[in-house]
Amino acid sequence: MTESRSAVGAGGAPGNGYDVSDDVVAVVEDTDLPRRLKDEVYGTVESREDVTVEEADEIARAVEARYLDTRVDPLDPVGTVSAQSIGEPGTQLTMNTFHYAGVAEIDVTQGLPRLIELVDARKTPDTPMMTVYLEDEYATEREKAHEVVWKIEATKILALGDVSTNVADMRVQISLNRDTLEERMITPEEVAEIIEDSLGVETVQNGAAVEFGPEEPSYRDLLQLVEELREITFKGIEEVSRVVIRREEVDDGEEFVLYTEGSAFGDVLSIEGVDASRSTCNNIHEIHRNLGIEAARETIIEETNDTLKEQGLENVNVRHLMLVADIMTNRGEIESIGRHGISGSKDSVLARAAFEVTVNHLLNAAIHGEVDDLNGVTENVIVGKPIKLGTGDVDLRMGSTGR
């Protein structure tokens, strides 16, 4: 697989940090091992003491042989193996949609529906959420953390005060709660202005009281205005309906972390106090838009892995998930596995037809006069030829060699 190649680590002079002789370093560096395994060998040699160069060489060779053994063979059907390795544990996933993830009291889609959502590359997940980390003092002081919460969580009118309709005068009356306004850092003047801008009505603001009404006295218009008023986002991000603030342990003490219901990743990253280097989101498309294809790939691996882990299936090898993520991001944008994505863009007509909506594919192929070169697995199974995998793709040729 792609990641079997390795590069020398950034901080890494060979044998760095290990008490081993230069000769040992020389024999170990001479092997084809990746950095991490070399370090492992250094560690072992160091802890055993009195290891001769010959012994070190023997150890290194043995590890190398074992390492080369575990690599994928040429013509191995890695895709099929991955499909099976994810598919089998997939049968044990819950079909139950809702279950809160981890510790935060936020509902997140789990199990099979989440896995399907990921490989289908849905535009928006069922339950979008963000994990927002905070910077410096915002992360340690509850007050400061709350400032950020108010900038993210959508504030509707019902959170700010009471709304009543005066049918006699055809007026909507709002009595704002001073404490709440102060806490959320918004003034009655601002509230009145936002109402004017979004509803197109004249407002009368007097202290904490704001009132307005329809131009023509009409009972229907009045109710309509109240409906619209409830929809206005006065502060925060419209998509984010709720923010949960949690205190979490970190290496050097504790920090506040925000979990949100709903996501607007791009907007959140530019908010002051938000740590734009750690915050994440469970919508792979938002990650792709804001952080690029490589981050999207990383998120696909992370999210599929977490989904499986959550269900107690942690022994699915991460390489299979990496392969899925590699394929999904291969063309520089996120493609779904399945009829509308990877499987639907296969070269072979027969392979596509075998996957889903058989008749449509065959009909279209006939109309366009498509030709099938029979290079893939599925189409060769269909026509009964050996598939080009493993020993099936090795040709023997007989001939004489000149003596």
Partner: protein
């Protein structure tokens, strides 16, 4: 504007020199169009990268400490 390259999910992207690219393609025995792609509009792409360039990406890998991959910049 947020500096995308600082995010922990974003690995280091650097534009690859043409000569080094030749070596890479030779080693794998492929054409540059066989490489995985990256969009020109990708936020993590270095500013100087243009269409047809190849970027070298050094990922922190789950299986090999660090992994080097290449992507061709496309429209």
């Amino acid at each position: 504007m947020v500096d995308v390259s600082q995010h922990e999910l974003v690995p280091e992207h650097t534009v690859l020199d043409e000569e080094i690219l030749e070596d890479v393609l030779e080693e794998y025995d492929i054409d540059r169009t066989d490489l995985p792609k990256i969009k020109r509009t990708d936020p993590a792409l270095p500013d100087e990268a243009e269409m047809g360039d190849v970027v070298k990406i050094v990922r922190d890998s789950r299986t090999a400490d660090q992994a080097v991959v290449y992507r061709l910049v496309v429209d």
